[in-house]
Symmetry: C2
Amino acid sequence: MTKSRVSIKDIARTAGVAHSTVSRALNNNPLISPETRARIQSLAEEMGYIPNAVAQSLQTRHSDTIGLVVASLSDPFFGDVIEGVDEVASEAGLSIFVTASHNDPERELEVIEMFHRRRVDGIIVAASRLSNHYTARLKRIRVPVVLVNHQAVEEQTLFASVAVDNHRGAWLAVNHLLALGHTQIGYLGLGNRQRSDQQRLAGYQDALAGAKLPLPVQYVLIIPADVVQASGDVEAGRIYFPQLLATGVTAIFCYNDRVAVGALLACHQQGIAVPKVCSLVGFDDIDMAQYITPPLTTIRQPRRTMGQRAMRMVLDLLNEQEVENQLIAPELVCRESTRRCVKRDMSNVIRNSYREELCHQK
Amino acid sequence: MTKSRVSIKDIARTAGVAHSTVSRALNNNPLISPETRARIQSLAEEMGYIPNAVAQSLQTRHSDTIGLVVASLSDPFFGDVIEGVDEVASEAGLSIFVTASHNDPERELEVIEMFHRRRVDGIIVAASRLSNHYTARLKRIRVPVVLVNHQAVEEQTLFASVAVDNHRGAWLAVNHLLALGHTQIGYLGLGNRQRSDQQRLAGYQDALAGAKLPLPVQYVLIIPADVVQASGDVEAGRIYFPQLLATGVTAIFCYNDRVAVGALLACHQQGIAVPKVCSLVGFDDIDMAQYITPPLTTIRQPRRTMGQRAMRMVLDLLNEQEVENQLIAPELVCRESTRRCVKRDMSNVIRNSYREELCHQK
DNA sequence: TTGTAAGCGTTATCAG
DNA sequence: CTGATAACGCTTACAA
């Protein structure tokens, strides 16, 4: 930690007072005389005194720290969440411990217990994978925990949470497509995102049902969890997109922007024109979405805001205030990857678009 | 921090031993008899004992934590760095405090002092803006500090560092362009990145000098710092690119990928074909670089590795080992945004490419 | 092998 | 207003 730092006692000694007096002076305790306070404070400054937060924590029984677990640190999605948390935590004078769970529930639990050992004042978990399986060990945690976009269904009652309204987002996406005249709309889902995938699927289905449209089973394609884990979202989307397109859909709602980027890649490679042959909608509105060609219509999650909200929730919990779970409304961002449906002869789609692409390249 | 936790003394009491015995048993001290150790350990487990890391830190005088400051948490660049740091820190059993400096040297210093108060064992600063101006206050810090891609020139001696070789990267980029036959090559720089911008510019100039090519002043365009701060890298690139292209260059080396993305955007908007009319090279190899159209030739910075190295350096420093500053070699990633130079009549470039783009679109 | 006691750097409760 | 003194929860000589 450090060698020979100057402590409150050292100051006391050279000032010829008791160390408790120094403590009071430094904390602007009103009981202290203005003169001694000034004297002590400038002395402390001179001597290069830096308070020991560890000792303070031990005594005051709070550490002014919180623990933050995210599924992945390299994923920009969580970067935004972290930023939001950091903003309000810094404002409140709290420091943040951060680490990645890599989507491993076991590791997630270990991390939480580590935070507990460090006596953090609160814990935020983004994309939690914890299920009821762990509740026993979790019950021990005497600290406010709030979940951001949790993946397990059962935790709602145990912990506070803020989550995007996946159902609503999917509903918005599909209705946008319906408004453009599409009637054959597919869903390209991700099997390793249990909860959110189910919710987006449900939103998709409800939107279709609302339009009284039939829903052939082959219009829904959930990419197997192991494939996604192994190849990543983009690659998974690229590989599975053709299979879904072949069912005859004219538009596809993708689980997220990365899957949509993968689909777009497949289109570029195989000469399929987007949105002419197939409209594409993503989810999240990651940075890339607006810069790729064509720019992606997507459902925006206000990630920074979600981080802020989660942190405020922790703060409220620390103040013994009641909090209620928050469902964040996502928002449709309309760009060029979607457009009016054009009736087309399915048998020629691929061939035609291939021709287009060839001329396109030269 | 927490209410009524079970402590080592509670265990001692119910076990009928001294609390020091419990401490030893729990720490697998060899002096303890196997029986009592087992008894104590299982008792601790039953009672739900969780060691208090704060108290341990106070006693052992090290906290097993490090502080990490990055310029921005929402920038994926730093996400990768953080991930690298997290990997080796977790491995070594250290927890990470993280926060953003928002490129503000004053804030950066405050954060460092806060980390100091928390008695972290080491500090890593990514994209540090600290200059000699602050050395006085910095000297107090008794803790290993390592800088990642620091922007101030003078700190090298005060702190250890790992940084990408900007000069080399620029040199690689420009030589790639030269090899493709380009002789009129521009540099689109960023005025708010003092150090790295200068280094990349120097690498660019040296490469050109090495090829014995003239270097008209107008081929170098550094975007003013205030514009970049206000609009962001992408937008800055988009706005300033046309001005540089108008000087007659056939290829442009951009400060980073985001600037290059901005340039690409300008091209799409104005119907300028890339790489046909103008080749583009970026720097960093951010995620987006490979997915935009055309994919970006760029200079890859191994960000995660840099995070890992920085963390290992901290570990070495903690072991009293000597470390030396590391200059990381970046690597050319060749993609479709660059290609052989085509001699062209400058007066028609814009008009021609416009025509191309129109046919392109339909 | 175990217990006793001191101390890490603070804050907090008493007296004075 | 200020000074002793006792915690906070733990590790670690030093004794027994």
